[in-house]
């Protein structure tokens, strides 16, 4: 994905050397990421089962609702692993390595060109992955919106619907249950395509499994 300083290393050497420059995804982030991934898939599947009862029958409605609720609480708890890590470590800069809008849009444009054309020609990504500059501009803006806005809104709306009676007042303040419910469904709709496209883009590494492997080990693999 990015140009690595250690071009001479063989692909498996990085595991042994533990080059700190290549250590992109620390353990808390990896734990959060995979639990979150599993949780999202479970929530989308159970959510779909709840919404489309009788269209298919993976599980009963009761099981779907209960599973959805439990998984949702696990995902909410897991969110704080992510939030805590970035709030209490200096890694938060991965989202804003440089607060320069001109550079940001310039890099974003280059990144779009890369994914639209360059990648097919075998060009290298214009973004070089570093421990403190992990995301390309497209990832950075998307993940920030998702993690700081979309996901919390989904948590809040889901939580309110988990116990409508308990959250009667905030529900009324926010426009009623119908609004809350619709927002929750709209975000669910967004996450259906988001999850699928995210998984596909994860397969756009050096090999289809490179980024997946990286997300397990934490180390960026050197490009050939």
């Amino acid at each position: 994905m990015s140009t690595l300083p250690s071009e001479q290393k063989s692909p498996d050497v990085w595991i042994k050397t533990k080059d700190s420059d290549l250590y992109i995804n620390p353990l808390p982030v990896r734990i959060w990421h995979w639990l979150n991934a599993l949780g999202f898939v479970a929530l989308i599947l159970t959510g779909t089962q709840i919404r489309y009862v009788a269209l298919f029958n993976i599980m009963s409605f009761e099981t779907a609702v209960k599973t959805h609720n439990w998984v949702a609480f696990a995902v909410i708890a897991n969110y704080f692993v992510w939030l805590g890590f970035y709030l209490f470590s200096d890694k938060i800069t991965v989202y804003h390595p440089e607060l320069n809008m001109k550079k940001f849009f310039d890099k974003a444009f280059k990144q779009i060109i890369y994914y639209s054309y360059g990648i097919f020609r075998g060009a290298k990504s214009p973004h070089k992955v570093l421990p403190y500059d992990k995301f390309n501009p497209m990832q950075s803006i998307t993940y920030q919106i998702v993690m700081m806005l979309v996901v919390p809104v989904q948590f809040m709306t889901g939580l309110m619907m988990w116990d409508v009676k308990r959250f009667e007042t905030p529900i009324a303040m926010l426009g009623g249950l119908h609004v809350i419910d619709t927002v929750h469904v709209m975000i669910y709709i967004f996450f259906i395509s988001f999850t699928m496209i995210h998984a596909y883009m994860g397969a756009l590494g050096q090999t289809p499994v490179t980024h997946f492997r990286e997300m397990f080990t934490g180390y960026e693999e050197p490009h050939e």
């Binding site: 409605f61 609720n69 419910d181 699928m196």
Partner: protein, 489 residues
């Protein structure tokens, strides 16, 4: 002049003496009479029905013959003996089959069987305590002095007032009931006191065998039959007690009360009534039912516990500021007519929103913070009584949470009428899925409320994008690679 003068003085003295003696005798008679007869004798307006004023309520002595208070045995026996002396003249004729021709051409029985009457609690009071109009007539019976009665029903309603005097508490409860409200509206079948209690041979309702359903069954036979076959009716008949706590299964009056009879379908009254006995119901539902509190709020108990009952969505107007269902007041145009008039005008928009924008009910100082709320109810009063054993209760969520289920159900709009009943009328069942009505229906959870086609299309589009973007990108890449490869060659 002197003789003449002394003669006048003598006449005056004679008149005064006679007058004095008459007063003494009259006072003696008054003192000897029971209190209510004295009141009759000195109150010319007593024939007219007693007007209902707080003062009149207070004027009634607390302890009179035949009050709700317990009489001591000797006292009752002596009063019965005294009353019998006064009543013997009446019973002499009325102990026989006699009828009176009413103004409507029908005949009314005048028979008062003597033995049951004198043995009953009312045997301790005189006939004219209640039949004041007759008590005032000097010559009874007589064609010229007999009272005229238009219909038997009208006479029963008129005589109902006489019960208040002794049975003040029960009468007040009755006046607050749906039965009394119906009578006031002119309903010909709604019960008055004598519909349930024979005034000439009253017996304590404790002596009724509850399983017979009487007297409620006289009017509510279908409902009583449903109750009899229900888990409550069967438990009562079999003498079962609830969880060894020696509480017997309910009869009609346990839920509806015997005098302040209410329509339980209103608001949370029904649920509260159920919880009165089934007190751990919230806890039990919380153990397995997601959003149990909301379910208990918006789903009538019978919807699940009368598993074969037809169900409906009942929308009701809710006063958000007061926190109670909106009730119509006397003289207001029924809400359905108001909404229908708006709908008939045509034009876009939700009739309810337009109605609210125009000031709602238009009462002075009335806030128009009104919205629609919904409850799942059973279709009929009969169904509400068909409560089955717990093991038959609906437990599968899919029985409601199923696509299209909502569309199969009836939808009604209801409002509490001035007499305290809930009046329902059919509503367009599409209202729940109508985006145009979103403001009206946003304040409550509607089953499948967001299951509209627009969102379904978005789901499909999102799924399509999730597939199309990777497939398209992959295919595009392949094509570009092939193109570039061909170019290199």
């Amino acid at each position: 002049m002197v003789r003449s003068t002394s003669g006048d003085t003598g006449k005056v003295l004679a008149v005064l003496t006679v007058f004095f003696i008459c007063c003494m005798m009259f006072s003696g008679v008054l003192l000897a009479l029971p209190a209510e007869e004295a009141e009759t004798a000195v109150t010319p307006a007593a024939e007219a029905p007693v007007t209902e004023t707080p003062e009149a309520e207070q004027a009634v002595p607390a302890t009179e013959p035949g009050t709700d208070q317990e009489d001591s045995g000797n006292d009752l026996a002596s009063r019965k003996a005294e009353a019998l002396k006064q009543n013997s003249k009446c019973l002499k004729c009325h102990n026989r089959e006699k009828t009176k021709l009413l103004e409507d051409g029908k005949e009314m029985s005048l028979l008062v069987p003597k033995e049951p009457y004198i043995e009953s609690a009312h045997g301790a009071i005189s006939c004219i305590s209640c039949h004041r109009a007759i008590g005032k007539r000097e010559k009874h019976p007589s064609k010229s002095t007999n009272i005229s009665i238009s219909t038997e029903r009208e006479y029963s309603v008129e005589m109902n007032e006489s019960c208040r005097k002794c049975h003040r508490q029960k009468y007040t409860q009755y006046k607050g009931s749906v039965h009394s409200a119906l009578v006031a509206q002119g309903n010909k079948k709604a019960p008055v006191c004598s519909s349930c209690h024979n005034p000439h041979a009253p017996v304590s309702m404790d002596n009724y065998r509850p399983e017979t359903g009487l007297p409620c069954k006289n009017c509510h036979e279908n409902i009583f039959n449903a109750y009899s076959a229900s888990v409550h009716g069967q438990a009562r008949i079999n003498g079962n007690t609830i969880r060894d706590s020696h509480i017997q299964a309910p009869i009609c009056s346990d839920c509806h009360h015997s005098h302040e009879v209410t329509a339980l379908a209103i608001g949370d009254v029904l649920r509260t009534t159920c919880i009165n006995c089934h007190e751990n119901v919230t806890l039990l539902h919380n153990q397995w039912l997601p959003n149990a509190g909301t379910h208990l709020d918006i789903v009538s108990c019978a919807v699940c516990h009368a598993p074969f009952a037809k169900r409906k969505f009942d929308l009701h107007l809710y006063d958000n500021k007061a926190g109670v269902p909106l009730a119509m007041e006397e003289g207001e145009v029924p809400i359905q007519e108001q909404l229908q008039a708006i709908a008939d005008e045509g034009g876009d928009g939700d009739p309810l929103e337009i109605w609210k924008a125009r000031g709602g009910l238009g009462r002075e100082g009335q806030v128009t913070d009104i919205s629609l709320r919904s409850r799942m109810e059973v279709m009929s009063g009969v169904a509400a009584h068909q409560i089955a054993s717990k093991s038959f209760a609906v437990r599968t969520c899919e029985s409601c949470h199923e696509p299209g289920w909502r569309q199969k159900q009836n939808v009604t709009l209801s409002i509490t009428t001035p007499d305290g009943r809930r009046q329902s009328f059919d509503a367009d069942r599409d209202v729940l899925g109508n985006v145009g009505a979103i403001n009206s229906i946003s304040d409550f959870y509607k089953l499948g409320g967001n299951k509209n086609k627009f969102l379904d299309i978005l789901v499909l589009l999102s799924l399509a994008a999730g597939i199309a973007v990777p497939v398209g990108h992959f295919t595009l890449g392949k094509m570009i690679k092939e193109y570039l490869a061909r170019g290199e060659k």
